[in-house]
């Protein structure tokens, strides 16, 4: 069963087309990588899939719901890691996650477990502003999974994560449907069953892993 079904997703920024007629179907539990050069439309597509942006035209169904009308219901089931970590630098790692527990309507007991999962237990009390860029990215990933989302939308999560990025992401992606934008073809090949390659907002098809390696 497809978790994400998109038909003709198109997005314009003024007179510039960012996405053009993207059709997608992503099955439950499937991991799909989105590849492409800078400006190819990866972030725009991911923001639309995460319900952070509305497409100019096209239809999008996520988990059987109209993503343009049922955004609030869907946001409880989607985890999104954007380009910027979007953390509160004056609050500790724990306080950042506790705050989002309240907004997500989940118990604060999830915080310690999530911090352990992203490898931040030892800096739990340190202000987010004093964490390294990689640690901030881990915290942002922790925030995205704290409500146990069914669909995880990750926009270049490997940026600044370090050498164990693939292992961490593999652990977090298990049993979830994932859309992952990255520039790292090897990472995409390792973590995802399928890839969508974008160029100038257009889909170049969905090559298999073998094509990518070649």
């Amino acid at each position: 069963m497809s978790i994400v079904v998109a038909n003709g997703l198109t997005h314009w920024f003024g007179s510039e087309v960012a996405l053009e007629s993207i059709d997608l179907a992503i099955d439950a539990g499937e991991h799909m990588a989105v590849l492409g050069e800078n400006g190819a439309g990866k972030t725009t597509l991911l923001r639309i899939l995460a319900t952070a942006a509305r497409p100019t035209s096209g239809r999008l169904q996520i988990m059987g719901l109209d993503a343009l009308r049922e955004r609030k219901r869907l946001r409880a089931r989607i985890g999104f890691v954007a380009h910027a970590p979007g953390l509160y630098p004056a609050l500790s790692a724990t306080e950042n996650l506790e705050f989002f527990c309240i907004l997500q309507g989940v118990r604060k007991t999830k915080v310690a477990e999530t911090l352990a999962l992203v490898g931040l237990s030892e800096v739990a009390k340190r202000p987010a502003g004093q964490l390294s860029r990689g640690m901030q990215q881990r915290l942002a990933i922790g925030r995205a999974i704290i409500h146990d989302p069914k669909l995880l939308v990750l926009d270049e999560p490997d940026a600044s994560l370090g050498s164990d990025a693939a292992d961490l992401l593999a652990a977090l992606m298990r049993d979830r449907t994932v859309v992952l934008a990255t520039h790292d073809h090897a990472l995409a090949n390792r973590l995802c069953q399928r890839t969508l390659v974008l160029r100038h907002g257009r889909s170049l098809g969905t090559p298999t892993r073998l094509h990518l390696v070649q």
Binding site: A52, R75, A84, G86, L87, Y88, P89, A90, L103
Partner: protein, 221 residues
């Protein structure tokens, strides 16, 4: 399910905690209002006779400009940290998030007023009384609701520093008129204090309801 009241309280507490730890806004605002009073003190020939008629104007000038800074920062900080989107990507109601931001900004302005009113009494020799405090606090509620709504609207715009006063000041005029009148009467001018206070309350209810209805569209779109 998220509880809107819990969300609003959590957002306000988060903003107040961040301000307590960084002390970015309140010390600067306190300095600003004291400096404004010092300038007014030297700019006007103040004596015991004219102080009650000049002090209310100075009070509202200082309050309005301190409010513009306080409410402008409420969403500017979220924009700089790219954290507003993270909040909006949760199932929490945008209205509850807005209410929390407005509550925190209003409380920060109240702290600033706690400096402003005694300083006004010191420089102008006008006593602080409960009617003055009540009028200022009532005006703060409506001003915070409107100020935060426009701050949220302009947060993503390049010329936000210019746009915020242009949008906000005209709609703050009712609060300045009614609040100014209430403070003048409380300082000894003729007129009805109760009527001015009732008008402030009416404006508060009107603008809190209107901004709550508009907040959803401003924040979520």
């Amino acid at each position: 399910m998220t509880n809107s009241f819990s969300v609003a309280v959590a957002v306000a507490r988060k903003d107040l905690t961040a301000e307590w730890r960084t002390r970015e806004l309140v010390p600067a605002l306190a300095q600003f209002v004291v400096l404004a009073l010092v300038i007014a003190n030297f700019g006007f020939q103040i004596d015991a006779h004219n102080a009650p008629s000049i002090a209310p104007g100075v009070l509202w000038f200082a309050l309005v400009f301190a409010g513009l800074v306080a409410f402008g920062r409420a969403f500017a900080a979220e924009r700089e940290q790219a954290s507003l989107e993270a909040m909006l990507m949760t199932p929490a109601s945008p209205v509850a998030i807005f209410a929390g931001k407005a509550l925190a900004a209003a409380l920060l302005l109240v702290v600033c007023e706690a400096v402003l009113l005694p300083a006004l009494a010191l420089f102008f020799g006008t006593p602080i009384s409960a009617p003055i405090v009540a009028a200022v606090l009532l005006a703060t509620i409506g001003m915070a609701a409107l100020g935060c709504l426009f701050a949220a609207m302009v947060a993503r715009m390049r010329s936000r520093e210019l746009l915020l006063p242009l949008l906000t000041l005209p709609l703050w005029i009712p609060f300045i008129v009614a609040g100014g009148h209430a403070v003048q009467v409380a300082m000894g001018a003729s007129g009805s204090y109760d009527q001015a206070l009732a008008l402030l309350l009416d404006f508060d209810i009107l603008f809190v309801v209107l901004t709550s209805l508009a907040a959803r569209f401003v924040l979520d779109e």
